[in-house]
Symmetry: C2
Subunit: 444 residues, 2 copies
C-alpha cells in the first residue's frame, strides 16, 4: 500500500477499499503512517466525504484498534445514549440511573467539555472524590453490580479515535460529518450495546447549528449502528436555549438530583424521559413508548433511580449523602440575582453566550489541560416566550468573586434579550430511525 | 497566529493575508509549524486554490527563506529558461551556451528526472567527471567568467520549497497549479533574473496533459514573474511525441552537441532557437525576434556556442574533448535496431511510454535515491505523419544487455504505432505573455 497514492485516490473523489481503510488505520496506530500523511488524507475526506462502505470500514478499523466491552450472556440488555453536546445538558446524570433502575445496563462513557459546551465528566467530577477514570474491567464489574457506570473514554477503547481526534483538532478537520460519525460511533459500538439513542442538538447553541447537517449526522450514525447490529434512534432536540435552568458543573449536578427526585425543570424531564424511553423500547425492556415512560416515571416516583445514582456516586468514590444534601457540592463564593431590565417577552436565551461565559468564569476549558472551577455558572429561570416584568428576578450568577459576578451579569445582559415577542421552538422536533425522519410523538 | 484557525480559514475558501503566509512559511522552515499542519493546509489549497495576493505572498515567503543570486551592476543582462519537463527535452544543454555566447548570462539551475520525464542534471552527469553541485558562490564566479553555469538547486536557494516539495510528494498535494507555480518561480526568481522564458509542455507526455491547465500554469507563472520585476514569457510546445531523436541521458548529450554543431534534429533546433530568442529579446540583448534568431544562428555557425559549452564542461569537471569525440561519453553495451512492422504512416510516438521504458532500462528514477544508468535509451528517427515501409529501421534501442534490448523493442512496439494516417501537431502552439495568449510566430 503506497500511502501517497491512497491520498490522491481519495483527493480525486474515488473510494478507498475497506481493506485499505483497515490497514491504513492499523498502520497509523502502529506508528507506521506519519501524521502528515494522515492529516492530508483527513482534509481530502473533509472535501470528498466518505461512501457508506468506506465509513463502515473506517469505523470498524477504529473499533478494532482497541478493546471492546462484551455483554454476551449478560442477564439484562445494554443501552447507551450519546449527545452532540449543549449548554445545560445534564441529561446523562438522570438518564443513566433511571434506565438502570428499569433493568437495562448502562455503560455510560462520556467526554469533557470543550468550547462552549459542557461535558458529563466535568459535571460528575464536581462531586468531591468522584472518579471517572475507571478501567474497562472496573466499569464492567460495577455495571454487573449496579447496572450502571459513568466513566471517561478509557485508553483501551478505540485508541485510533483518540489519536485521530487529537490530529483533527489541530489540522482544521473536525467539522466533517463522516469523521464525526466515525469518531462517536467507534466509541459507542465498542461498548457492546444492544441499543443506542442519539440526542442530536440543533439550534444556535449546538455543535452543528445547521439543522440539515444535524439530520445528516443523525442518519449517518444510525446507518453505522444499524449495520453493526446495534439498533439506533436519534431525537433532534432544541439547543437554541439552555436545557433546564442550571448551567455550570455543580449547579447541574444539583438540578439533576432534583430531577431524580421528580422535581426537575419540565424541559429537562421531557428530554430525559423521551431519550430514556427510546432506550427501553430499543432493547425490548418495554413493549412501547407509553409503557417505557410509565416505568421510568415509576423509577423516579419510587426513589429507585435516585438510589441507583447514590450507589454509583458511592461506588466511584463520591459521598452519597449528596443526594439528600446539595451542600456536599462545592459552593460558589459570590452569588447575585439578575433582574429583567424591562417588561416584555423573552426573545432569546442564547446558549452559546452562556456557555462562553461559563468558560470565562473559570467553569469550562479553553484548552484540554485547563482546570475547571465546578462552582461557577448560571441558573436561568426564563425561556423564550415567557412574559417578564421589569425588575423581576430571572437568573442568578454564581462566581468566584465580585469581578466574576460583574462578568456574569454582563453576559446575561447579552444572552437574555427581552422584547415584544418570543417563541419557544419545539423541544424535540424530530425522531429519526433507520426508516427515516418523522415529527416526534414519543418512542414506538 | 493559531495555525488550526488558519487551516480552517483556507479550508472554508477564504484568503489568508500576505503576512499570514509570510509568518507561516518562516515558522515552517524554522520547525515551529509541524508537517501535519502544513500538509492539511496544502490539501486545503489543492481544493480551494490561492488568490493572486496569496500566491504572491507564498512565493515571496519561499524566496525569502533562502539566499538569492544578485546581478546588480553585472555588465550583461541575466536570463533563464524553465521547462515543465518532457521526454527527449535536452533544450537546456544547447540553449544555455547559445544564449551565453550572445552576451546574456545564464544561471541555469535545473532538476533531476522523476517519473517518465528526464532531468537536465542527470543528462549533464552522464559526462564523466561533470559536477552539478556548485555552491551559489562557485556558480556566480563561473557565470562572471564564462557567462553560464549549469547546476542543481543549491541548499541556499528557497529551502522552503525543498521542504514543501518533499512534503507534497508524499501527501498527494503535487498537482496544484498555484503550488507548482510557487515552487518553480520561487527558485527562478531567487536567481536575480532580468528575464525568464517558460517552456510549458502540452500533450500526452507532459506533466500537465490538459492544455487548459498548462495555459493556466503559464499565466500564473507569468503573473508572478512580471509582478516581481522579472519579464516572463511562455511558449506552449508539443510533448505528444519526444523532442528530437535521442531519449536517454548520454544519448541526449550527444544530440545536444550535434545541435551546437548546427546539425541537430529540426524540431529540437526550432524549439531551442524560439526559446533562446525570447530570452535575448526579453532582456534587450536583441531588438526583435528576427535579430535574436540571427545572432543565435551565428553563435552556432561560428562555433562560439559549442566552445562555450566545452568551457562549461571543463569548468565543472568534465572532459571538454567530449565536444569533438562523443566516445568520451559512456556507451551502451547492447544496441539493436528497431524496424517498422508494417508499411503505412506513423500515427503516434508516445513519449510517456518511451519515458517509462527508459526508467525500466535503468536510465531514470522510480525513487529520488535511485542511481541512473546514463547509457540506456532510444534514438527514434520517425515522427507522427511520417510514411514508413515495412522493415525500414525507424529506431534504435540502447541497453545494458539482451534482456534490456528485448524490453526496449517491446516498448517501441507499444509506443510507435503505424496505421493509415498520422498528424504532426504544431511544435510551438502558443506564445503567452502578460498581455495574453497568441498563436506562435516568433518573439516580438
Amino acid at each position: 500500500m503506497v500511502i501517497p497514492r491512497l491520498i490522491e485516490h481519495k483527493r480525486d473523489g474515488r473510494a478507498l477499499a475497506p481493506e485499505q481503510w483497515a490497514s491504513l488505520i492499523a498502520e497509523y496506530v502502529a506508528g507506521k503512517v506519519p501524521d502528515y500523511q494522515m492529516s492530508a488524507l483527513l482534509m481530502a475526506v473533509y472535501f470528498r466525504g466518505l461512501g457508506p462502505a468506506e465509513l463502515a470500514a473506517l469505523t470498524d478499523a477504529m473499533i478494532a484498534s482497541g478493546d471492546r466491552l462484551s455483554f454476551d450472556g449478560h442477564p439484562v440488555p445494554v443501552a447507551d445514549k450519546h449527545s452532540t453536546g449543549g449548554v445545560g445538558d445534564k441529561v446523562s446524570l438522570l438518564l443513566a440511573p433511571m434506565v438502570a433502575s428499569c433493568g437495562v445496563a448502562v455503560p455510560m462513557m462520556s467526554g469533557r467539555g470543550l468550547g462552549h459546551t459542557g461535558g458529563t465528566l466535568d459535571k460528575l467530577e464536581s462531586i468531591p472524590g468522584f472518579r471517572t477514570d475507571l478501567s474497562l474491567h472496573q466499569a464492567r464489574a460495577q455495571i454487573d453490580r449496579l447496572g450502571c457506570a459513568m466513566l471517561g473514554q478509557t485508553p483501551e477503547i478505540a485508541p485510533a479515535d483518540k489519536r485521530l481526534y487529537a490530529l483533527r483538532d489541530v489540522t482544521g478537520t473536525v467539522e466533517s460529518i463522516p469523521l464525526i460519525a466515525a469518531s462517536i460511533m467507534s466509541k459507542k459500538l465498542a461498548e457492546g450495546l444492544n441499543g443506542l439513542v442519539l440526542d442530536v442538538k440543533t439550534g444556535s447553541g449546538a455543535f452543528l447549528t445547521d439543522q440539515a447537517l444535524a439530520v445528516e449526522l443523525a442518519r449517518t450514525m444510525i446507518g453505522l449502528g444499524e449495520a453493526r447490529g446495534c439498533p439506533t434512534v436519534a431525537l433532534l432536540t432544541a439547543m437554541d436555549r439552555p436545557l433546564g435552568r442550571a448551567c455550570g458543573n455543580a449547579l447541574e449536578v444539583e438540578e439533576a438530583i432534583e430531577g431524580l427526585r421528580g422535581s426537575g425543570p419540565a424541559d429537562l424531564m421531557e428530554v430525559t424521559y423521551a431519550l430514556a424511553a427510546e432506550m427501553l423500547v430499543l432493547v425490548g425492556a418495554a413493549p412501547d413508548g407509553a409503557a417505557a415512560r410509565r416505568a421510568l416515571e415509576e423509577s423516579v416516583a419510587s426513589g429507585r433511580a435516585l438510589e441507583t445514582f447514590a450507589h454509583v456516586v458511592e461506588a466511584q468514590g463520591g459521598n452519597p449523602a449528596l443526594v439528600d444534601d446539595p451542600a456536599v457540592l462545592p459552593q460558589a463564593r459570590a452569588v447575585e440575582v439578575y433582574r429583567a431590565d424591562r417588561s416584555g417577552v423573552v426573545e432569546r436565551v442564547q446558549p452559546r453566550r452562556i456557555g462562553r461565559a461559563i468558560v470565562e468564569l473559570g467553569g469550562g476549558r479553553a484548552a484540554v489541560e485547563d482546570a475547571v472551577d465546578p462552582t461557577v455558572g448560571f441558573v436561568i429561570t426564563v425561556k423564550p416566550g415567557d412574559a417578564v416584568r421589569a425588575g423581576e428576578p430571572i437568573a442568578s450568577v454564581f462566581a468566584r468573586d465580585a469581578a466574576g459576578v460583574a462578568l456574569g451579569i454582563s453576559a446575561l445582559g447579552e444572552a437574555v434579550t427581552i422584547g415584544e415577542r418570543g417563541e419557544l421552538t419545539p423541544l424535540i422536533s424530530q425522531r429519526i430511525t433507520a426508516r427515516g425522519a418523522e415529527p416526534f410523538s414519543g418512542a414506538d
